[in-house]
Symmetry: C2
Subunit: 348 residues, 2 copies
């Protein structure tokens, strides 16, 4: 099982990427890694990590790195030899089964779309992120692969999300919802109303609109939204969690009683911190590209890299992409038909 790792992508790359790679190799005996990026830098780090003679590690040189300030299109225009583009090419050529990157998300989407192409029946890929809730994890997509999406895109996200929830969360018949501002079908914006109409006629377990106010009480197993909304929700909830830990720390250090209380309950704080910890999830798959792509958090630590690689190896084993293809084929003709009836535009 060969996985291509964009060794240059991420705030703490390439160091964190290589240390994470070493941890993943220790943990997962059946994987091999292709490290893509500046070969000199990578070789130095491989030596430091005692990986320079490891037969399970290969290095493929890439001239450029897409920086966070670059446009997404740079991966397929100005910086065609960037680490993410070269890594995506390895998958398209069958030399690797998955690509893992914690770099520029837009660039990873652009590079994989162009190099690996899309699965039949998919017009746009979507990032599927697993989020914690009071009653267990759920899937939200799109978490930011696209900034504008039409109704048909969101319906395709729903189909892919259903497959993903089955595989990743083991839910037999996932409840699917669309994020909106009211429960009833008449509530929402033009986009959500169209999606509601199409999904109501699909052979999936569609439960209607899901309001923000019930999101983390888990009303649905899969929620779809456009990538702008998904990204803002994902990131602001992360920001809120960070603020909450700050407030907890502050509140518990205000006097000796509370400090003693905090000491006694030290392990409880640890558990709280672990809920929704992105380092544990490692990365979110970009669903809909023809080949597996795992997008890591921009500030991935070695542990996050290790887990992103672990997640990639799991989804290879679970045949995620084959199962997506099967389901997309089953539903594809129906989506087109329903789309015509709903008057959904192409909105591009």
């Amino acid at each position: 099982m060969k996985i291509a790792l964009d060794a240059m992508g991420g705030d703490f790359a390439p160091e964190a990427a290589i240390v994470g790679a070493r941890q993943a190799l220790d943990l997962l005996p059946d994987i091999e890694l292709i490290l893509v990026g500046n070969k000199d830098k990578i070789h130095d780090l491989l030596k430091e990590n005692n990986l320079d003679k490891n037969p399970r590690v290969e290095v493929v040189h890439a001239e450029h790195t897409v920086e966070m300030s670059d446009a997404s299109t740079s991966a397929i225009r100005g910086k065609k030899n960037s680490s993410i583009t070269v890594a995506a090419t390895l998958v398209s050529e069958g030399r690797a089964e998955a690509v893992v990157s914690a770099g520029h998300t837009g660039a990873a989407v652009a590079a994989t779309k162009v190099r690996m192409r899309l699965l039949p029946g998919v017009d746009r890929p979507a990032i599927a992120t697993i989020m914690p809730s009071q009653s267990g994890p759920f899937v939200m997509l799109d978490a930011g692969a696209n900034l504008e999406s039409d109704a048909e895109n969101l319906v395709q996200f729903a189909v892919m999300g259903e497959v993903f929830a089955k595989i990743a969360l083991g839910i037999q018949n996932p409840r699917i919802g669309v994020i909106s501002v009211g429960e009833e079908d008449v509530k929402g914006n033009d986009l959500t109303k169209r999606v509601f109409k199409i999904l109501s006629s699909m052979p999936i377990n569609f439960i209607g609109n899901v309001e923000g106010k019930v999101l983390f009480q888990k009303y649905a197993d899969v929620v779809v939204c456009d990538g702008f909304v998904g990204n803002v929700v994902l990131k602001s909830v992360e920001s809120m969690a960070k603020a909450t830990m700050f407030w907890i720390k502050e509140a518990f250090s205000r006097n000796p009683f509370r400090m003693t209380g905090a000491l006694l309950a030290k392990e409880a704080f640890k558990e709280l911190k672990e809920i929704g910890d992105y380092e544990e999830y490692g990365g979110a798959p970009l669903l809909g590209v023809n080949g597996l792509c795992i997008i890591g958090h921009g500030s991935s630590s070695p542990k996050a890299f290790k887990n992103a690689i672990r997640v990639a190896s799991q989804f290879i084993k679970l045949r995620l992409n084959e199962r997506l293809s099967e389901r997309l084929e089953e539903t594809g003709a129906l989506i087109s038909k329903l789309k015509k009836n709903s008057g959904a535009n192409n909105g591009d």
Copy 2:
């Protein structure tokens, strides 16, 4: 100072509204209340609360109540005699200085827009909500008055948000940002890019895009977004806070050590719960209508009603609407000019 209270609006109305009214009358000696709604029901509750002979309380009958499942437009079409519409009319006729409602938000927006009209220079009103952050409160608007907005709307929201942050939070020169998915001006969707361009040329303290990931670390004092995004962010953060309290409770009751810890730090939990408690804020103003309108939370308790009335009385004293008008007049011509240059559409 006369305030019209939609006594029928809210999950726990009219009971919670009348109890909240009594608490507000006790707290604020300079207010008088006009309770709008079903006069029989209100009279019964006034008796129960010893308010039936209070000279500071007046009752105005309204035949209908807009239900949560009604369309927003029902307030101005089918149910013209609904409590929210009658309350808004009292303000438009000068019989009250503000309206407070915890009922159907869309109906409150529709009723006040039609009855009270908009301030010159405003095409759409916006709900301005105060949110907590690690470094103090900030203002987010629009939190759900509109579901689709164009660039000019968001620019007007920024101007109104600036005035509101000065008055409500006492911030001299509020930093204004637009919610987006990346820091740079090139990142975001069509709407945010246009807003970025216009706001960059305005005589306000515009600091650029604000990503979800820094929202609750407070990078800006005022953030603007369309009402769909604002509503989903506001409500999902509320949902996350609820889930967090659930997780905290669970984590702290797992063994006797932790339970003792929790007991010692009881007051810390109380403090945590109070952060961002909507009952304390009471309600959010609908900025841009010609007259003060405070929108309460749908599940307003008596305390939330009391605080919504308190907030209304404060903003009357602080001349919120006059100050909005002044600033809108100062910036109005400029917005139109910049809008033309940016190629922003009307997007309606």
